[in-house]
């Protein structure tokens, strides 16, 4: 088992024939992901990477039975693409694109929720179930199959964390990069619940950063609901207040959203909090012992 996606998941790509879409779709297919087609308006009927291209998501879903969409369209078209996926009955949209306007995502997320579609991202590395299905831009080779679930706002910290977990000999069930934008799809809470319910997952690594209060909400949720060991790291302890650190969401306003606050809340919830990402692997090893 795993969460969200597995070797049988049928995936389409929105923005299939573009440069980024093509490159990463090919990488995903090489990893074993069942990419069954793609969508690029006005290119319907063509074939790309050995798979059919459709004009609309609805057509793609009807013809391929896909349930998941990986979205690579340019920022200005992200909201449209997400809403099209939701309207066509896609159950999970993974939005890789960076730089989508916040107001657009607000509307798109609300529509997705109304239509029962889950979203991951935007501005994220995607989701990977180790050695089964990669939907995103992460280097697949570092994700070895195992028993640790991983949730991260940051892309490269996802790789850093997964790499350490695998080097310690534990491996990953599923890793999800949720993105650091002000409005995102699935967040820690929903994913923690999924990992808690997944028998294959024995421990959870949660990587957060300054800004917002998702990690605080997660801490409250963990305290009440999560029985599996959780290891956490919060990036930005040394970030100066008020400075923007690349991610639109990583802004400290007043006292809310500091790394310290989040670390304290997680510790109070019984989470093993590390002060450097270099300690993630060791901490997992400590909470799981030698399996």
């Amino acid at each position: 088992m795993s969460i969200l996606v597995n070797k049988d998941t049928k995936v389409i790509v929105q923005g299939f024939t573009g440069k980024e879409g093509s490159f990463h779709a090919e990488q995903c297919m090489a990893y074993g992901t069942k990419i069954v087609g793609g969508v690029t308006p006005n290119k319907g009927g063509q074939e790309h990477l050995g798979q059919p291209v459709f004009n609309t998501v609805r057509e793609a879903v009807e013809n391929t039975g896909a349930t998941v969409s990986m979205i690579f369209v340019p920022p200005a078209f992200v909201a449209d693409a997400v809403m099209e996926a939701a309207a066509a009955g896609i159950t999970l949209a993974v939005v890789i694109t960076e730089g989508a306007p916040v107001r657009d995502m607000q509307a798109a997320k609300a529509f997705a929720v109304k239509n029962g579609m889950m979203t991951i991202g935007p501005n994220c590395p995607g989701v990977i179930t180790a050695e089964e299905c990669k939907i995103g831009i992460m280097p697949g080779s570092i994700f070895k199959k195992g028993h640790v679930g991983l949730i991260s706002k940051s892309g490269t910290l996802t790789y850093e964390g997964a790499n350490q977990v695998c080097n310690e000999g534990f491996g990953i069930t599923t890793a999800v990069g949720i993105g650091g934008d002000p409005i995102i799809g699935l967040s820690y809470k929903q994913l923690l619940k999924m990992f808690e319910e997944d028998d294959e997952t024995h421990a959870i690594v949660m990587i957060g950063e300054i800004g917002g209060d998702l990690e605080i909400q997660a801490a409250h949720y963990i305290k009440e609901n999560i029985t599996k060991p959780v290891v956490a790291f919060i990036a930005g302890q040394t970030a100066p207040a008020g400075k923007r650190m690349g991610h639109a969401g990583a802004i400290i306003s007043g006292s809310a959203g500091t790394a310290k606050e989040k670390m304290d809340a997680l510790e109070a919830a019984g989470v093993k909090v590390v002060v450097s990402p270099a300690e993630i692997g060791k901490a997992v090893s400590e909470v799981l012992g030698k399996e």
């Binding site: 306007p101 916040v102 107001r103 997320k109 940051s154 400075k243 450097s276």
Partner: protein, 390 residues
């Protein structure tokens, strides 16, 4: 992106949000002409910088004669204004806004920001106008009224009623005026892709009119492409020159006050690297995210910007290649050592996509200053030692 008060007020005026009349000046002479043109007997001379707390810092002064406008303008123009939002280095004042005096009966606070938990804009209001809203939120949270507005229905009558009853406004005419004010503010927040609007204070005049005495606006950078009129309001002099230079080359850079330069891919790992350096007893000199499309030129540029800072005693290059390919970074380091005088030790940790190729490239080049590291912890430790001259 942030804009000045006078620019925010131009946008307010376009939407019919009442503001005092005012004119911008770059020189004391212009300030004097402005005051004459505005007429009246009292003027306010206001420093235009992208930071709050200007009044306390001495950047907002009342003038009771035309001559005093000129004197105050010459004092404020060219001063380095230090407020709780500028940092100790302060900001140079290059423009002053000359505004007609207002007749203040009461001071309120009104703002619009994104509520990330509710995932919709929230209108914030308080009777405690003129005070730092952070302090009000901390000391008397019950004095802050929050009215979330779901964009799918927009600003409705009930939003307005929650606002005026929350503020204790009982006069029917005043209620109508404030609801009208707030609905226009919400409209301009949405239509301009604002990230935040803050009016502190929003004043009530003796005749019961509401006027935006101040105005702060910030915008969603990702949406500026569809607002060329707002992009035109950008004031380059308010932005750090090195940060701008970096962003022109696809790098995200923020200067800090430590000794170890950092070059990392991804904002999260960049912050995590800074945290690790700190944890190991060193101090980061900067945040630098090389982004997803790093190549030899961007890496060379990154070195150049990092090394402009005379405090840098070592550089830690920490790359976990996903989209970024490590061999390109390795070539970038070679390139950089040819283009820039890299006179400090460079600790290099390359992992992920094409890391093996990268390691061969660096080994063969055999650059004296370059020290290889095996992982994040090892790299940070080596950088801390190198910065201490060990």
């Amino acid at each position: 992106m942030n804009i000045h008060e006078y620019q925010a007020k131009q946008i307010f005026a376009k939407y019919g949000v009442p503001t005092p009349r005012g004119m911008i000046a770059n020189t004391p002479a212009q300030a004097l002409t402005n005051a004459q043109e505005l007429g009246g007997s009292v003027w306010v001379v206001k420093a235009q910088i992208h930071a709050g707390g200007r009044g306390l810092g001495g950047g907002v002064k009342l003038a009771r004669s035309i001559e005093e406008v000129k004197t105050l303008a010459s004092e404020i123009l060219g001063m380095t204004l230090v407020t709780h939002q500028t940092g100790p280095e302060g900001k140079l004042v290059q423009k002053v806004y000359i505004e007609e005096g207002a007749d203040i009966a009461d001071e309120l606070y009104l703002g619009v920001v994104l509520d990330r938990a509710k995932e919709m804009p929230v209108i914030m209001a308080s009777t405690e106008g003129g005070m730092a809203i952070e302090d009000v939120a901390h000391n008397t949270p019950e004095k802050i009224i929050k009215v979330p507005v779901d964009p799918s229905i927009g600003f409705q009558g009930f939003h307005g009623r929650e606002l005026v009853y929350g503020l204790g406004i009982t006069d029917k005419d005043e209620q109508k005026k404030l609801i009208n004010f707030a609905s226009k503010l919400y409209k301009l927040y949405m239509e301009n892709d604002a990230e935040m609007i803050e009016i502190n204070p929003l004043i009530k005049t003796a005749s019961g009119d509401f006027i935006a005495l101040d105005g702060k606006m910030g915008f969603d950078d990702s949406a500026l492409g569809r607002h060329p009129d707002i992009e035109d309001m950008r004031d380059i002099s308010e932005e750090d020159a090195d940060e701008r230079e970096a962003s022109r080359h696809g790098l995200s850079y923020i200067a800090l006050d430590g000794e170890i330069g950092c070059m990392v891919n991804g904002a999260g790992l960049a912050m995590g690297t800074m945290d690790t350096i700190n944890y190991m007893g060193g101090t980061p000199a900067n945040f630098l995210d090389v982004g997803g499309s790093a190549n030899a030129q961007t890496v060379a540029k990154g070195f150049e910007i990092i090394l402009k800072n005379p405090n840098v005693k070592a550089i830690f290059v920490n790359i976990f290649g996903g989209i970024v390919r490590c061999d390109r970074i390795a070539n970038g380091i070679l390139e950089a050592t040819k283009l820039v005088d890299v006179h400090v030790p460079v600790i290099v940790r390359l992992d992920g996509t094409n890391a093996a190729e990268a390691s061969v490239i660096l080994k063969n080049a055999n650059i004296p200053n370059v020290i290889a590291a095996t992982d994040l912890g090892d790299g940070a430790a080596k950088a801390v030692h190198a910065a201490k001259g060990e």
